[in-house]
């Protein structure tokens, strides 16, 4: 029954003519160096399979690219498969290079195997291009910066360059269409080309295979071991080692996920390590000569390699060996030098390393925010809406010309000529305590540099607290402490949530003191006591809305009115008017950052 089925299948397909072929042998016998081709092929297959798996979750657009990759890494085996694909791609480049080196040293390009050689040589630039199309797909800062530069290199090609660049990028700027173009190249067109090269390569291997019979007639002595299983077992075991290395890397190190692409963010563009040699080479050719590094030299090397069969035919055996080994030696050492030099240089560059740390922190913050959910508009907004990231930037831009933000350890933001208060810890108990301290209120970090330095508040603090009777001082200090606690509670700071709740009694006592005994409400309004007019409203002091209103209009009747010193009104116009110094979103980001609300 089985026999009948098998005969039917053979009659329809003719498969037995393949299995019945005389076994292939390697004239030099099975060897471990000959595993380079097998490893390369199976690594390509694995890369394709992991790629297909990633395609079940990846979405190519600026809004969904980063988010879908982040999401994928939370799925079971998602992080592992992405790691396999990331490190597998780099392994492929190394394996292809090793394969070419082996073929070159063994002179495997000699007739009749010239096409075999050509297919192998062309695979290496194909793999590097393949990687170039893959790296920007997660829509990260780094990926976008890389494709930006790489597409500009394409654009520098004479005559057709700009046209090619515009077609690749899908417009003027890297964006949605760039991703869709890179995606179709990465998952469809380049695999097709690789498939064709593989087809040519295997057809050639088959056509020029040596069989035991042919080897016997060629004069080699002794029985020759067949390829299967003697060489195959070496191929598969070597490949298993390679796969184990890649899998270990994938488990040990997750594929990197940089911060989501955002033109506002700081950039530290560097190509991947396998392109560093071109990056370095380019720096030796300035201006119009740049093309020599980016196009002429790489093309020349390719042409030289492809021409090896011809070069070999005009050399003697000895000369050919010198040329081959020389090429490999020079090529590898040049490549290694050109790769190591920029790595070492960047390692010594303090500014570069600092920028790298900054970028890594942004990436970590993006991933932290993403864990709470990514808005439909995309991950780029995560950092743009984050007070922790934007606060210091906006503060430096808009506030630091007068204010400082220096924490107790002395670190923070400071302009050239601070003329206003230090806002670190604003409205916290420590900060208000310092304001009500006669020794500190006139210091530079409170009112010292402002017009209020000889104003009524300073007067009150220095006389009422500073000049108080020594015997009453202790009691007064205790009461002021309660006032501070009560006033600070108005801010509802996230950092004080616990203690504000625990000190409810102190807050109640302090509130009473503010309204009665200490008499703050003689000048300030505080909830139902006191009036506006002489001093800022203390109701909700330091709370989100209070601070937004204050920064928006410090000269408002609720705050300083005409006695406002030099602070500009950052939102003088109603609504989100474009005439305002700060947009509503930016104002909210600064306020949230000042209040530690992130």
């Amino acid at each position: 029954m089985w026999h009948k089925l098998v005969s039917w299948l053979d009659d329809r397909t003719g498969y037995r003519s393949v299995t019945a072929l005389p076994p292939r042998v390697l004239p030099e016998g099975p060897s471990w160096t000959a595993t380079s081709g097998g490893c390369l092929f199976w690594m390509l297959v694995v890369q394709g399979l992991t790629g297909l798996a990633l395609m079940t979750a990846y979405s190519p657009s600026v809004a969904s690219g980063w988010a879908s990759v982040y999401f994928l890494q939370q799925l079971p085996a998602g992080s592992f498969l992405r790691g396999m694909h990331y490190f597998g791609g780099q392994a492929l480049i190394i394996l292809a290079a090793l394969h070419i080196v082996r073929l070159l040293l063994a002179a495997s390009y000699r007739p009749p195997r010239e096409l075999l050689w050509a297919a192998a040589v062309l695979l290496l630039p194909l793999l590097m291009t393949w990687a170039v199309t893959g790296n920007p797909l997660p829509a990260t800062q780094k990926g976008f910066a890389q494709i930006d530069v790489e597409s500009n290199i394409v654009g520098s090609t004479p005559v057709i360059g700009p046209m090619l660049r515009t077609m690749l990028v899908g417009g003027d700027q890297v964006g949605n269409l760039t991703l869709t173009h890179l995606y179709v190249l990465h998952v469809a067109l380049l695999p097709l080309v690789a498939g064709l090269l593989a087809l040519v390569h295997f057809q050639q291997i088959h056509r020029h295979r040596v069989t035991a019979i042919a080897a016997g007639t060629a004069g080699t002595t002794g029985p020759l071991l067949p390829y299967w299983p003697h060489q195959t077992v070496r191929n598969l075991s070597a490949f298993a080692v390679v796969l184990a290395v890649v899998a270990t890397l994938a488990v040990r190190y997750a594929a990197p996920l940089d911060a989501p692409a955002d033109p506002d963010l700081h950039n530290v563009p560097r190509p991947e390590w396998y392109f560093l040699f071109l990056f370095e080479l380019r720096s030796y050719f300035v201006g119009p000569w740049e093309m020599i590094a980016t196009m002429v030299i790489p093309a020349a090397v390719l042409v030289l390699l492809l021409a090896m069969p011809a070069i070999d035919s005009i050399c003697s055996r000895r000369a050919s060996r010198v040329v081959r080994y020389g090429l490999v030696a020079i090529g590898l050492s040049a490549w290694a030098t050109l790769t190591v030099v920029p790595i070492v240089r960047d390692g010594r560059d303090a500014e570069f390393q600092a920028a790298k740390v900054e970028v890594a922190e942004l990436a970590a913050r993006a991933r932290q925010l993403a864990a709470q959910g990514i808005p439909p508009e995309g991950a780029g907004l995560l950092l743009r809406r984050d007070p922790k990231v934007q606060g210091p930037k906006l503060f430096t831009q808009h506030c630091a010309s007068c204010h400082t933000h220096i924490d107790p350890s002395g670190k923070g933001i400071k302009g050239d000529e601070p003329t206003a208060s230090n806002l670190a810890g604003f409205a916290s108990r420590a900060w208000i305590g310092g304001l009500l301290d006669p020794k500190q209120i006139t210091a530079g970090h409170y009112f010292g540099h402002t017009a209020f330095a000889d104003g009524e508040m300073v007067d009150w603090v220095t006389s009422t607290i500073g000049d108080a009777d020594p015997d009453e001082r202790a009691e007064l200090d205790a009461k002021i402490k309660q006032v501070v606690i009560a006033l600070s509670a108005e801010a509802q700071l996230k950092s004080q949530q616990g203690i504000d709740k625990a000190d409810a009694q102190q807050i109640a006592a302090g509130t009473e003191l503010i309204k009665e005994e200490i008499g703050c409400t003689d000048c300030h309004r505080f909830h139902d006591a006191g009036d506006l007019g002489s001093a800022p409203d203390l109701t909700g002091y330091g709370s989100r809305q209070w601070l937004i209103d204050f920064v928006g209009q410090p000269d408002h009747e609720r705050f300083y009115r005409d006695s406002n010193d030099r602070m500009p009104a950052f939102a003088a116009h109603p609504g989100d008017s474009p005439n305002n110094l700060l947009s509503r979103q930016d104002l909210a980001l600064i306020v949230d950052w000042l209040r530690g609300q992130w």
Partner: protein, 193 residues
């Protein structure tokens, strides 16, 4: 020299191991949506003020909440629709009011159940399943054929609660979804991911 059959076995072993390193994670990945998440199974919501509900007349209410779609979180989406029917007239004991809540998802294949033209029955637009105002499946559907609904409209747990701040009385519902097409009312687990 190792025997040829031994070598062939070695080849098979290496090939199988390498294949497993790739195949197992891939299968895990594509099976990921089958993982069920226990969280946000039942979403408790205050859906309507008791005073706003007319007696005996069903009111359709859309529940709004955040929805996860793969990697994205949509903050304000309709996550479900329900029918709320107040059964008894207003008394001075609002806590004991009789209110029935049904999910508007048809137990047949999940279309949104609406109110029939006469207002005396619930009617599903897709396959014309019909239910009386008590949520019971009628013997025949709106066209006179056998009612495709496999069971009655799914009831949802509801409570009458009083709001602390305003002192007004609200209907609070535990919203959940149920499996389609079967006679038994079994909660549908939300897919993991």
């Amino acid at each position: 020299m190792i025997r040829r059959t031994a070598l062939k076995w070695l080849c098979a072993t290496f090939a199988a191991a390498s294949a497993a390193v790739v195949a197992v994670p891939v299968l895990q990945l594509i099976a990921a949506p089958l993982r069920r998440r226990k969280s946000d199974q039942r979403r408790v919501r205050r859906v309507a003020r008791l005073g706003d509900l007319p007696v005996g007349k069903p009111k359709e209410i859309a529940l709004v909440g955040s929805r996860r779609d793969g990697w994205a979180v949509y903050p304000n989406e309709t996550i479900g629709k329900i029918w709320v029917v107040r059964r008894d007239a207003a008394t001075d004991q609002p806590a004991a009011a009789k209110v029935d809540v049904y999910t508007a998802e048809c137990p047949h294949l999940g279309c949104t159940i609406g109110l029939g033209p006469t207002g005396t029955e619930f009617l599903c637009p897709c396959h014309k399943a019909a239910f009386d105002l008590q949520g019971q499946a009628l013997p025949s559907d709106a066209l006179g054929y056998e009612n495709p609904a496999p069971r009655n409209m799914d009831t949802l747990v509801c409570r009458i609660v009083q709001d602390q701040a305003s002192q007004s009385w609200w209907v609070e519902v535990e919203f959940e979804k149920f499996e389609y097409g079967i006679a038994a009312k079994i909660p549908r687990m939300s897919a993991g991911g």
